[in-house]
């Protein structure tokens, strides 16, 4: 286990001031993209331009992109109940080192966050140990069992910004209909992990050529598509907003695209691994390539990229899912699903989306800043004056090699170890305070 950084208990998130000089300021919310200075005073973006007084620290951002602080709306921090995998302290440090100023924690903790007490605990632990903003989500159903609605109103009062049974999928369509209808009262976004359990029963990898060769039970695309189609119909019926998580199948992308043309209130997200890898990676039964939904085929990758390009998919996120190495070092069928992602995702997105000219920088950053902020009703994700001073500085041309042994995350379960990536975050700034930078790490 990597020792925690000495600054573990250091969590000074009090507002601060900083002057960022001469970077390429990109604010997708306003369409701004220009070389400029940016000033944060007492934790808020200032409208003042020009040189501030000399007491304010200066960062020379020449050659760097100055973006709104990145937001990852799909992260498993594993606290409470999974401290062998990750804690809020370690997971948020991984996030900061990946360039993220805000994360949305999934509620499939142990116990699950299906009531206000667990949310209160998570928020308290975040307040004590996190160096970035941690937003919470609550369960849709009690114990994520898909049967009885969780106290969604109380969860809302306790501060959750979304509900989801992520990792599980409500199978009972009537329960899902009531959940969506009920959540509408609080304007809460419902996030769905789309998986029909009958169609995917026993499946551990994509059903296709490789599952046929390897003799592993298949988890077919149709198991995702069926629930995406259901969610579209239920959203139309109830008028509630629904967000389909981690799309993996080409047909699901098509279904979302068609629904959006009818103005259905649906949004969708894509993960780095589904863009970067296919099921062929499983040839040697390496459990670092086992995640849910599974890696699929080249045609699915292309559909996801097309969906990102035409904004059918407006969210990029990691599905950061840490597991201890001893949990992953077992027979493929027995290994838990999921991989870590916070410390590699930005570099992978630069490689697969910017370098491959699928998106330009403002388009890509929108999916990591203002889009998740709008869906979750967060007052951030923009560099407009008066907004919280959450800023990520990115060096778009700084090649580096992934080394899992250097992760801040407690876990090492990445399929990207050893990958060469073209760029990365250099400074993560929360409320005007640099919480991490590439040169000094978390040292104050």
């Amino acid at each position: 286990m990597t020792p925690l950084p000495p600054s573990l208990s250091f969590h000074d998130r009090s507002p601060s001031s900083v002057f960022i000089r001469g970077g390429r300021v990109i604010d997708p919310a306003s369409g701004r993209d220009e070389t400029a200075d940016l000033l944060v005073i007492d934790g808020l973006i200032s409208e003042q331009t020009g040189k501030p007084d000399s007491s304010i620290p200066v960062i020379d951002a020449k050659g760097l992109i100055v973006a709104p602080g990145l937001i990852d709306m799909h992260v498993h921090l594993r606290e409470p109940g999974g401290s062998q995998k990750e804690t809020i302290a370690t997971g948020t440090r991984a996030a900061a080192a990946g360039g993220f100023t805000s994360v949305l924690a999934m509620p499939n903790t142990n116990p699950p966050a299906d009531g206000p007490n667990t949310i209160a605990l998570m928020r308290q632990r975040a307040n004590e140990t996190s160096c970035i903003n941690v937003f919470t989500s609550g369960c849709i159903t009690v114990g994520m069992k898909g049967e009885q609605l969780a106290p969604i109103g109380s969860l809302h009062k306790a501060g959750v910004v979304a509900i989801t049974d992520d990792g599980h999928c409500v199978q009972n369509n009537e329960v899902m209909r009531r959940a969506l209808d009920y959540a509408r009262m609080f304007d809460l976004l419902t996030l769905d992990h789309c998986q029909d359990y009958n169609l995917s029963a026993g499946g551990v990898m994509h059903e296709g050529y490789w599952s046929t060769v390897l003799g592993l039970p298949g988890w077919p695309r149709i198991a995702e598509d069926m629930i995406v189609a259901r969610d579209i119909l239920l959203s139309e019926l109830t008028g509630a907003r629904i967000h389909v998580q981690h799309l993996s199948s080409a047909d699901s992308v098509r279904l979302v695209r068609e629904a959006k043309k009818r103005n259905v209130k649906i949004s969708a997200e894509a993960m780095p691994h589904h863009l970067a890898l296919t099921d062929a990676s499983i040839e040697k039964y390496d459990t670092h390539f086992k995640m849910n939904p599974p890696l699929r085929e080249r045609s699915d990758q292309e559909a996801l990229l097309a969906g990102l390009a035409d904004d059918t998919i407006e969210i990029l996120a990691s599905d950061h899912a840490p597991h201890a190495s001893y949990e992953k070092e077992v027979e493929f069928a027995d290994a838990p699903f999921g991989i870590v992602g916070l410390e590699t995702e930005l570099g992978i997105f630069i490689k697969l989306l910017i370098e491959a000219r699928v998106l330009d920088w403002p388009q890509m950053l929108a999916k990591l800043t203002i889009n998740p902020a709008r869906l979750l009703r967060l007052d951030r994700g923009t560099l407009a004056s008066g907004a919280p001073g959450d800023i990520t500085l990115i060096n778009p041309g700084l090649p580096w090699q992934v080394d899992a042994t250097k992760f801040y995350s407690l876990s090492r379960n990445t399929p990207f170890d050893g990958w060469e990536l073209p760029g990365r975050a250099t400074h993560t700034i929360v409320a005007g305070r640099v919480v991490w930078n590439l040169e000094k790490g978390f040292a104050p």
Binding site: V213, L214, G215, F332
Partner: protein, 315 residues
């Protein structure tokens, strides 16, 4: 013919034709040796072979045990009922224990596809896959092609052979290993069974997928029947065993329309009256018992090639 270079035998898929031929040729040497009374090999003398059968099996385990003993090895068998598995020891830890005990060979039968590769990576011992989930069962395929060659004559070109494999292909490691072995040797292979158990995806493996048993058996040189698992019915792969038998059971009526010299193969254990009519299991075209016999010679060949002394028959 090239020499053997692999530490383990995990799959047929990774072998090339020369390697398969080498095993078959070595198998013939051992079969000849076995036919002479009193002759024994000392190829594995002083070596320890561990039979690790995490999934129950009688036939394959016994065959490997006998093969190892005939090569002069010390043999230990551990089965799924043994205490460490019951106590939840991981496969990794079992492997480390075997390593510490200086096992020279590990024969692994496991319900999880990929388990042999997982263990082979962590062991210095030679690993032989004795069947992993629905993935592969390489020695079964080797003994099957050995039997076909023996029965039809070595001079018969594989290119002229049409092998029909019938049954629960989707869940069958025997079918997968046979597909690789037969196609690598050059035979034409047709997989036949219900659409639910023989998905079209299998055609990407270089074989023909069919669902009408009656039309494909007409020009078959070999019909390989697989055991049908009754529990599949519960997961709605087919409506009933009765319906399965009517569509895909090899009965006398169907047999009459086959080529006269057709070989009827079955890896066992047989469900008499289900995938095969009882009379046909015992008829001269049936190779069921040859397969068992040849399994011994082929498994001796595999163990010998992986890590035996150079001259298998030396006293």
């Amino acid at each position: 013919m090239s020499a053997w270079t692999r530490k383990d035998l995990l799959t047929i898929r990774e072998l090339d034709r020369n390697e398969i031929e080498l095993i078959l040729q070595t198998g013939r040497t051992f079969k000849e040796l076995l036919s002479r009374p009193g002759r024994k090999s000392n190829s594995l003398e002083g070596r320890t072979v561990v039979n690790l059968f995490v999934e129950p099996s009688t036939r394959t385990r016994t065959s490997f045990e006998l093969a190892a003993r005939r090569l002069g090895a010390d043999v230990v068998s551990i089965d799924s009922e043994s205490s460490s598995f019951r106590k939840g020891e991981t496969l990794k830890d079992t492997g480390l224990v075997l390593q510490a005990m200086h096992a020279d060979f590990v024969i692994l039968r496991h319900s999880a596809a990929g388990a042999p590769g997982f263990l082979a990576e962590r062991l210095k011992a030679h690993l032989v896959n004795a069947g992993d989930g629905a993935h592969e069962h390489p020695t079964q395929a080797l003994l099957d092609v050995f039997t076909i060659q023996e029965r039809l004559g070595e001079k018969r070109d594989w290119k002229d052979l049409h092998v029909v494999i019938c049954g629960d292909i989707l869940f069958s490691r025997v079918a997968r290993s046979n597909v690789w072995a037969l196609t690598k040797l050059g035979a034409r292979v047709t997989l036949v069974g219900p659409t639910t158990l023989v998905p079209e995806l299998f055609s990407e493996l270089g074989v023909t997928v069919a669902h009408d048993f009656d039309s494909v058996l007409l020009d078959a040189d070999v019909i390989m029947l697989l055991r049908i698992q009754h529990e599949r019915q519960r997961r709605s792969f087919f409506p009933s065993v009765g319906e399965y038998v009517s569509l895909f059971g090899l009965n006398l009526d169907r047999f009459k329309r086959c080529k006269p010299g057709v070989l009827i193969m079955h890896p066992g254990p047989i469900n008499r009256g289900v995938e095969i009519a009882s009379e046909l299991a015992d008829c001269p075209n049936s190779t069921v018992l040859d397969q068992v016999q040849n399994g011994l010679a082929v498994r001796m060949a595999v163990l010998h090639l992986l890590g035996g002394r150079e001259n298998p028959a030396s006293p």
